[in-house]
């Protein structure tokens, strides 16, 4: 966990808290820990990343130990354990996408953004992550930004997307 970020208290907005309670109620009595993954998604949606304070808050909501949250958050790749940029580009680096030129397009994307995998642009707008298979192999190369899939990528298409998101 990062030490460089100023500690702050995290609480869900009233809407998210109500959503969180609805999620917790889905599971049988005593099995509220099942809500952990959905709640971490909710936390990340609100905070932009899965912060230590946020994880402690989720632990309190579920009445479990904070370590139970940390060990889960560190296992799954979708939870950003460090602050990220406004747009997180999750680029598929797996076989079928590579067959369709995924490696070349990734090189172009890195050059365009001026960053390497795992880094964030100086203006804080883009973070680049490489991920494993996004289940869109027939439409590769592919990357995902939040819930949106961008498919059949070419260098030109990448430029268009970055231009659009830079406005």
């Amino acid at each position: 966990m990062s030490n460089t970020v100023e500690n702050k208290t995290v609480v869900f907005t009233p809407e998210r808290l109500s959503k969180a309670q609805e999620i917790i109620a889905r599971y049988p009595e005593g099995r509220q820990k099942s809500a952990l993954l959905p709640l971490l998604h909710l936390l990340q949606e609100q905070e932009g990343w899965t912060s230590p304070e946020g994880m402690d808050y989720v632990a309190r909501l579920l009445d479990i130990q904070p370590i139970e949250v940390y060990e889960v958050a560190t296992f799954y790749t979708m939870y950003h354990l460090e602050p990220v940029g406004t747009h997180v580009i999750e680029y598929c680096r797996t076989g079928p996408c590579c067959l369709m030129g995924g490696e070349d397009v990734l090189a172009h994307l890195k050059q365009r953004l001026g960053i390497d995998t795992g880094q964030t642009t100086v203006d804080g707008r883009f973070t680049l992550k490489e991920v494993e298979c996004l289940a869109a192999c027939g439409m590769g190369p592919v990357f995902q930004i939040r819930e949106k899939y961008y498919m059949n990528l070419t260098n030109e298409r990448v430029d268009e997307i970055i231009d659009e998101l830079s406005k």
Partner: protein, 446 residues
Amino acid sequence: MATKILTEHINVPGIETFDVYRKQGGYTAVEKALKTMTPEAIVEEVKKSGVRGRGGAGFPMGMKWSFLAKPEGVPRYLVCNADESEPGTFKDHYLMKTIPHLLIEGMIISSFALGANKSFIYVRGELMYVIHILEKAIAEAKAKGFLGKNILGTGYDLELVVQPGGGAYICGEETALLESLEGKRGNPRNKPPFPAVKGLYQCPTVVNNVESIATTSWIVNNGGDAYAAIGIGRSTGTKLISASGHINKPGVYEIELGVPVEDFIFADEWCGGIRPGHKFKALVAGGSSVPILPANLALTLANGDKRLMSYESLSDGGFATGTMLGSGGFIVFDETSCIVRNTWNFSRFYHHESCGQCSPCREGTGWMEKVLHRIEYGHGHQQDIDLLVDVSKKIEGNTICPLGDAAAWPVASAIRHFRDEFQWHIDHPAEATQPGAVYRGDMALV
């Protein structure tokens, strides 16, 4: 016209909505099942259909259902495995986003047959937009009385919960999925006990794939015998194939099992052939974990007969000359593909996705990735090829779950069929590291 069981109405505008789906005959199977059939009778029809698990393992679904323990006073669960993450496989993604009610209808029928009152659809977290589509469809079905309390006045209650994963391929393994659903790391459990006895929350649980569950509406409407009449031998019914790689028409196709592999690749109805100006070099038929085959073995059996798209034909000859249908992730390679680079790529995937619980998998997948990387980048040693074979053998069969096998098979099979290509990389380090360098040798291209 080939029979379409899952995709018949997939192009109807608005099919993602309850009303349009209903107009196309949707939810009639729920009415038939809940109003006129007993749970046992539904299980019997599914057994008769011979439908096999479409997630990759191919275990007969009816038999799996019949193993479910039924102790008094203990809830039972149905969990749909929608954690599709196998490279090359994207059919469940397609099915859920285009026709979500087909899965929901299947979930209702299957849950009723199994005596479950709360069922889960565990969807990989990357597909958050699909999760929203499913949640919307569930809300529609509930508003129309097909979900919730006292469905259609039959006295049967069912609540459906859509659960997002967190980005871990291992959660597609059924016991890891259950761990994850309980809010834990996705570490696979030792079996036995099997989920049918102790599954979710230590209660009897059936875990089925999206495509498998989606077939149940058709089986209930048309009968298990009608389903079994489609397909070939023990490979009954239809299968969704996700086709990717160097073909003219990548996409998801529903085929009747038994179609020749050659037709599937070259006919306009399906993949439409290899991209212009290129030759067919190799095939991964069932997702990245299954053994790769060179073109000649992909199209024909060792005895010269045509190889078919079926569980039996694809595995003909064992791993020496065959492979597996797996999840139906069909990846086609033309002659520009470097097998060493692709094998390294797959190896990196399995190393990344190993949960780390078993030493052979945790250490072995990383070791294979490292050795493959150095061969690909021109630093391979002469003994590296045998070393890879040795490491893969030491992983295979020595882990709690099949991820170890899934990591070992692509490496072992690539060396089995393309050893010259690995050797060429070791012998010609300067050439091998050039962009686009591929050893062509005397490879039989088609």
